[in-house]
């Protein structure tokens, strides 16, 4: 008699059918009856939305944006001072370039030291990460009427790229002082706008003001928030109570109430000879508001530092303050970076609130232009709001994607 040898391979290994696009469609779109219904409904909705958008884009009159582009970007900055925002743009491009290049170089050095593979960021990766910003710049430039802004933007881009490669090749000893250079460039940017007979921030407007309020708000609120976070974790009951009361009070009220207080009540709280400008008062309100939120972000970072780190520092005899400065804070602050970017995004969106009190930032400008005699009563709100919405969307979307990338890279929440 014959014994048949069992054939294992064929019976165990499931043969994957050849996967063509039709298989993908069947599996991901029409795998059962309700998915088929959903797919058809969604497809109809997409087609309808795309057609409506296309019809609107082709039919809408964008003259209102073309005429008022400067108001949207820099508010009522005097025409003969236009070189100032441009110089500021160049300086910011250089700032971003140098910092980006030096960070990339540091990351490369660290990887090499640790014996890890380091992959260079390719041009395609940069494109896929920053396409919304590039697209926005192209859209904005398409609204300009002369060639000068395009040339100047290209110059700014060139400066930025040049600064990036400069940051890459800086020797390590110099790179350690990049933050000092960054601070210098920020001061220079401010001086370019306001110094030597320029315009102080109380007269700024447009997108420039939104960006200023965001950056200044976060930068001034950060030290305050850090102190509040440390106060909240202090072992001194009085300090803790003061910090908790402040943080919870501010987090319990909307920003607009603080802005109202800044606009109408702050004057009553100051000595009668101190009268800060309106934007300054808005900035004070924003700073006080942001400090409470940053305190919570920093607290999250402090909690992420394992207890063993503090205990180890105590074991080697470090005093409390040194433990904080050298062991806890560096780790805590690194862990807060993604949340800080989130805070930055939400403040960027919240700066639109000052428009309620009549400050000419970007959103307010979209209303001002609709009351110009050329465009009055033509229902162009949708056009101008869409433009402002695009600007805010691009900024927030890019930042939130970058923060998610950072979060993954830093491994926050995975430890």
């Amino acid at each position: 008699m014959t014994i048949e040898t069992p054939v294992f391979e064929e019976s165990v290994v499931e043969v994957e059918p050849a996967r063509g696009p039709m298989d993908w469609v069947r599996k991901n779109l029409f795998n059962n009856w309700y998915n088929t219904v959903l797919t058809l409904a969604m497809a109809a909705l997409f087609v309808w939305a795309a057609l409506a958008l296309a019809r609107w884009l082709l039919g809408a009159d964008f003259e209102i944006i073309r005429v008022n582009l400067r108001l949207f970007m820099i508010g009522r900055f005097p025409a003969d001072q236009l070189w100032r925002p441009w110089v500021a743009t160049f300086l910011i491009a250089i700032l971003i370039g140098v910092v980006g290049g030096s960070l990339a170089a540091t990351a490369r050095d660290r990887a090499v030291e640790a014996g890890l593979p380091f992959t260079e960021t390719t041009f395609r990766q940069v494109l896929s990460r920053f396409w919304p910003i590039i697209a926005l710049v192209v859209v904005i430039l398409a609204f300009t009427t002369t060639i000068t802004p395009t040339l100047l933007t290209l110059l700014a881009a060139a400066l930025g790229v040049g600064a990036y490669f400069l940051g890459r090749v800086l020797p390590r000893a110099v790179r350690r002082w990049t933050w000092g250079l960054a601070l210098l460039l920020i001061v220079a940017t401010y001086l370019a706008l306001a110094g030597f007979g320029g315009l102080g921030w109380d007269d700024w407007g447009g997108l420039q003001l939104n960006l200023f309020l965001t950056v200044a708000g976060i930068m001034i609120a950060f030290p305050l928030g850090l102190l509040l976070a440390l106060g909240r974790r202090s072992s001194l009951p009085v300090v803790r109570t003061i910090s908790v009361t402040y943080i919870e009070f501010v987090r319990g009220v909307p920003l607009i109430t603080l802005l109202l207080a800044g606009a109408f009540a702050l004057g009553f709280l100051l000595p009668s000879d101190v009268r800060p400008g309106f934007v300054t008062r808005m900035l004070i309100a924003i700073t006080l508001f942001e400090a409470a939120y940053i305190a919570e972000v920093v607290r999250g970072g402090l909690q992420a530092v394992p207890r063993g780190q503090v205990e180890a520092a105590q074991a080697v005899g470090l005093p409390t303050r040194t433990t904080m400065r050298l062991v806890v804070l560096p780790q805590a602050l690194r862990a807060t970076i993604p949340a800080m970017v989130g805070q930055f995004i939400s403040l960027f969106k919240d700066t639109t609130l000052v428009s309620i009190l009549g400050v000419t930032e970007l959103l307010d400008a979209t209303f001002i232009v609709n009351s110009q005699s050329d465009f009055l009563g033509q229902g162009l709100f949708v056009v101008t709001l869409a433009f402002a919405g695009l600007v805010f969307w691009v900024g927030s979307y890019t930042m939130s994607r970058e923060s998610r990338r950072l979060e993954k890279r830093l491994g926050v929440g995975e430890r």
């Binding site: 959903l38 300090v239 909307p254 109408f264 009553f268 709100f381 949708v382």
Partner: protein, 378 residues
């Protein structure tokens, strides 16, 4: 002695109290002086003065005292919160689940919605909804009227409502009794199911009992509830339920905005449920609905609740943006009252106090729910 930790602790705390106290004193000193110099009140007596403006949709005359107007404002804020939070939850959960759908197109559509909405300032969304949707409706005189059931124009939205007819009181009483009976049926079905193991079908049973009683009572009492159709009478809408267009603009915009954030939270929480749970449900041959309803969502909910609460609080605080399109909630009324020359510091203190109370109530409510949902570990 100065390096003694116990002494240092006391000194630092006394210093902190002193600094904060001194700041408070200086601010208070400036405040009272400045208010007096400006000829404004330093107390809250001004609240009994007339409001001086007309509040749309409130029925208050301009002669009504300020405190009554503020109460109307609080009521209007709550009208947004009470309707908005359930809507946010439903849309957020649906979109969050849809983002993880196996249907590629559905997942993409949900992703597009989330990424589009949550990266635009809520104030801009409110303006957009108001200008691109609400103001596109015809003016009052040319209202859209759908067979007297629904009237829409660019200022109001009115739907058909109910009015009490004779025997309304007894009918309500019977409904209350029916509710008790159906609760009893629920309890009975649950117990029976636990004893015998047969399916309880308690939702069907209790709804059925309640429905039968309600219909019988409605017929027996001779239609105690009548319809009230909205009527366009010259420049005013009467009958039915009338809502201000500005209310719906704020509601729609904020619900869409907040739901996009909630959807992200829901998606993250579902992804946080261990994969083994899904695989185990598949091994038990649960349908995808049963898997979501009984296995995945209950576990995801525990992760999602704390961040979702903070979204509820954000929604509540964001209702203050209604100020921008003139919906008369409390921030708007405070703004108007200050504009009429009433002392700003006191008005803003009241406003902040109101929001603190809202935040506190929502936190408390949700904490109670949270405690009931907490995992009981043995």
């Amino acid at each position: 002695m100065w390096r003694d930790l116990r002494v240092l602790r006391v000194v630092v705390q006394v210093l902190a109290v002193f600094v904060v106290g001194a700041m408070a004193y200086v601010l208070w000193f400036n405040l009272t002086n400045n208010l007096r110099a400006a000829g404004l009140a330093t107390d809250f007596d001004f609240l009994t003065q007339p409001i001086g403006v007309d509040i749309p949709g409130s029925g208050l005359s301009p002669g009504a005292p300020i405190w009554r107007a503020l109460l109307v404002g609080i009521k209007n804020t709550l009208a947004l919160v009470v309707v908005g939070i359930p809507l946010v939850t439903v849309i957020g959960v649906v979109v969050g689940i849809a983002r993880l759908s196996t249907n590629w197109l559905v997942a993409r559509a949900a992703g597009l919605y989330v990424e589009l909405l949550r990266n635009i300032p809520p104030l801009l969304i409110i303006f957009f909804v108001f200008n691109a949707v609400i103001l596109r409706f015809p003016i009052l005189q040319e209202s859209i009227n759908i067979s007297d059931l629904l009237i829409i124009n660019n200022r109001y939205l009115a739907v058909v409502g109910f009015t009490a007819q004779p025997n309304f009181g007894p009918f309500l009483l019977i409904l209350a009794i029916a509710l008790l009976i159906s609760a009893g049926v629920w309890w009975w079905r649950t117990r029976r199911s636990e004893r015998t193991g047969e399916p309880h079908h308690r939702v069907l049973w209790s709804l059925g009992v309640f429905g039968v009683v309600a219909i019988v009572a409605f017929v027996a009492l001779g239609a105690p509830i009548g319809l009230s159709r909205p009527v366009l009478d010259g420049r005013a809408l009467e009958g039915g339920y009338v809502g201000l267009a500005s209310y719906f603009a704020v509601l729609l915009a904020l619900v869409l905005y907040t739901a996009s954030h909630v959807a992200e939270i829901v998606r993250g929480s579902i992804l946080a449920v261990p994969k083994g749970q899904t695989e185990a449900s598949n091994a038990l041959a649960l349908t995808s609905f049963q898997r979501l309803r009984h296995v995945v969502l209950p576990q995801a909910m525990r992760v999602a609740i704390p961040p979702v609460i903070s979204q509820y609080l954000n929604f509540t605080k964001n209702t203050s943006l209604a100020i921008a399109i003139g919906y008369a909630e409390i921030t708007r009324l405070t703004f108007q009252t200050i504009g009429n020359g009433q002392p700003a510091p006191q008005m803003i203190a009241i406003l902040m106090g109101a929001y603190l109370v809202f935040s506190l109530i929502i936190s408390l409510l949700v904490n109670v729910i949270n405690r009931r949902l907490e995992l009981v570990t043995r």
